[in-house]
Symmetry: C2
Subunit: 223 residues, 2 copies
DNA sequence: GCATTTTTGTTAATTATTTCACAATGTTAA
DNA sequence: TTAACATTGTGAAATAATTAACAAAAATGC
């Protein structure tokens, strides 16, 4: 009845729940792997086994984008992968910048998300004169001052890997240069305009949460 | 009525929702900061402003552990911080190991969670002969072979920063040596015994989710 | 070609989480 | 001391997310 109109998949997402949206990248990468090893079809339950998510949840997640599978058959991995690629905007290159070339920043520059993703760190910024002018894995490091004057309206997001004390200041500069999205690796809670969006990656929080669950939740697990 | 019995705070957690538990580390760190700058009291709404979480959610979160605040006054930052410290087991040192001394592993070793947290990376493992025997920020790097024979029953968790292809193998070794908790930075979904617990930190997923939200969710934000 | 099996897509039920609303109670200031 | 104020803690309501259940339909095997 309430069949979502397909065609341009990017349009088909009025009411995708946040929880669903956050699983899409995992689905996408898993499908890339499956396609790479030559698997052409997969059922929701086999797929669920791989990503460790209940098969019903997976079918429901996909259903927000229309009917992507075939009854009695499952999903065509190639087709599904390409569909998700469009949904995730991974069919066009997303340019991002990195602010803060410390150990973590360097790690991200070396990784650079390129292997399977249409995402590229195109420029890095730091305050350290020893780093400015160098190049790490093909990305050149520039002075933070340049951030102030650069026009970054074509840049999708900034990865913030500066010390906590400088995160807000760096974010302000990035906002001023035209950036709206942030992947914030510092523990600081940024204060940003309404049209900006931040995701946090907080390793200390994750480690503490892990320790908490090990000590508490685990004790009372059914068998 | 259903007042939680206090005293030993660690006992007071029959039914702490997962969502609440995952916020506790953020609360804890924020309180550390507030105490450090000399703030002695805070209301749930001021606190909520800082951590960017609705004040009702904060009060409800705290309420699972009993009555921690005072009506008409708010919360005593020092007291609350110490309470959370106990809850989070941060009053005793948690020893963790790190497996995989690449760029990211090195970044984590340098950070080492020590600044405000009672958590320490006590040993690192890698397969690279050039790294084995070295020391990074006071943590010595050992051969992966040792992991097989080490007794790590005293170790709380392992941080997995190995390439995806080796993550499962490394986790198996860690399990065999007595470890139950994992902070997995590789995209691999680990297959582990029931009494083990994993948390994922997946930067590629986070970046893709960010890009997704920027392109979709953002468009239809109320004003 | 037909019966059996598989598996989707979806509605309904359940569970989890957040938010509302406000009584209860301590705090503050005069 | 007392009135005005601030703020918690919490039931109840609203939202969001997951899981169950199953009809519909396609695939498979004979």
């Amino acid at each position: 009845m309430s069949m979502v109109k397909m065609g341009d998949p990017v349009m088909a997402n009025q009411n995708v729940p946040q929880a669903t949206a956050e699983r899409l990248p995992l689905y996408y990468r898993t499908l890339q792997r499956l396609v790479a090893i030559g698997k052409t079809r997969i059922s929701s339950s086999e797929f669920g086994g791989i990503v460790q998510i209940d098969s019903t949840t997976i079918r429901k997640d996909f259903s927000y984008f229309g009917a992507l599978g075939r009854k009695g058959y499952g999903y065509d991995t190639q087709h599904l992968m390409e569909f998700l690629k469009k949904i995730l905007y991974q069919d066009e290159l997303s340019k991002v910048i990195l602010i803060g070339v410390g150990h973590l920043g360097t790690a991200l520059l070396n990784h650079n998300f390129q292997k399977n993703n249409n995402t590229k760190i195109v420029k890095a910024y730091d305050v350290d004169p020893l780093k400015i002018g160098t190049e790490i894995s093909g990305t050149s490091v520039h002075s933070m001052d340049e951030l102030e004057t650069d026009d970054n309206r074509e840049i999708t997001a900034a990865i913030l890997t500066v010390p906590a004390a400088h995160a807000q200041k760096a974010a302000d500069l990035a906002i001023a240069s035209g950036i709206h999205g942030f992947l914030n690796f510092s523990p600081t809670r940024l204060v940003l305009p309404q049209d900006a969006y931040v995701r946090h990656v907080d390793m200390t929080v994750e480690l503490q949460a892990l320790i908490y669950f090990l000590n508490h939740a685990m004790e009372e697990r059914k068998s």
